[in-house]
Subunit: 168 residues, 2 copies
DNA sequence: TTTACTGTACCGGCTGGACGGTTCAGTGGT
DNA sequence: ACCACTGAACCGTCCAGCCGGTACAGTAAA
């Protein structure tokens, strides 16, 4: 399926050249196909961006669900580290791609609202859970702007520190 | 001085219409002046964006310095809450404005790298300080995408919770 | 097993419009 | 006389979306 490769190409472009580099021609070239081929899969530029946003949300939700802990926060924590360390879910790239029109960003904002509320009140220590989730958010942000800040050892240490804040 | 108003207008536009709304004509109109007047102060669009980025960094650094705590992390925490709750420093808007060309974003990335390293190792509990700073980062992010998530009471509670993680 | 047809996937040239940036002759307050 | 603009005209570039075409795989009647 060429669709995924086109989304990857768009994210590549955003990640290493910024949002003004996201033109249909550039995406097509990066993916090794023609503009017409790109427009066959995504009939407008907006559709392409929507595609990136939806994929990001779906994949992260799946990643959270795939963790085997007993609270949403712990799963969220594990998923965040998995996403950030693998570098596969480039959230910042997608956000900047969608930042042109706010309604393209709306699904992501809704998802974020969900990620920071889901199951919060039923957790053993809601205040700690909230802090951990915010730190995860911050980690994602910092890691995309300053990739060299943490190495694997630092990540592991940080993860232990965050888990220690959570009861159980 | 019209300069500040022009920067405000640009941020307004970014905050409530997204980055593609940032055109010279739109900024001028929003600020209530002409395109010529805008170009009198900022001779190119890049200069305007650079202006926003520099102002954001300077104002936040001043805000941190203006707090009276005994560690950088505590000052950073207090400054973040002040910035987020007042809504005056619209970091997200500035970031999206600058996300078109990565070199415009570079000063902000350097500033972030600094904010997450400065004085970290000399603090009483570096691991806790790191978590608190990441949570601040996350708070800034979440607050800009989901402004309704926290009210004043929640902010106060969260701030107490974060301060409690720091020794002293 | 040839022919005719259908749908899918993809190509690439073209154009209309928007936008950044420039210039310049005013204007009004100080 | 100078600063801080105004307002409008203008230009060149860039780019999204359109559209006419191509290649090919499957399929099914004759």
């Amino acid at each position: 399926m060429r669709r995924e490769e086109l989304l990857d190409a768009a994210e590549d472009l955003l990640a290493d050249q910024g949002s003004s580099a996201l033109t249909l021609a550039a995406v097509a070239e990066r993916a090794g196909c023609s503009k017409g081929g790109l427009l066959y899969h995504f009939s407008t530029k907006e559709a392409l961006i929507k595609g990136m946003v939806e994929r990001l949300i779906e994949e992260f939700d799946e990643l959270v669900a795939a963790q085997g802990h007993d609270t949403y926060t712990k799963n969220y924590l594990a998923a965040t580290f998995a996403a950030v360390q693998s570098g596969r879910l480039r959230r910042w790239a997608v956000v900047t791609g969608a930042s042109g029109n706010l309604y393209l960003l709306a699904p992501l904002r809704e998802a974020m609202a969900r990620w920071h509320r889901e199951g919060l009140e039923t957790e053993p220590d809601p205040a700690a859970a909230q802090i951990v989730r915010l730190a995860c958010e911050g980690l994602w942000d910092v890691a995309s702007h300053d990739p060299g800040l943490y190495d694997d050892g630092r990540y592991a240490e940080l993860k232990r520190g965050l888990l220690a804040l959570l009861p159980g």
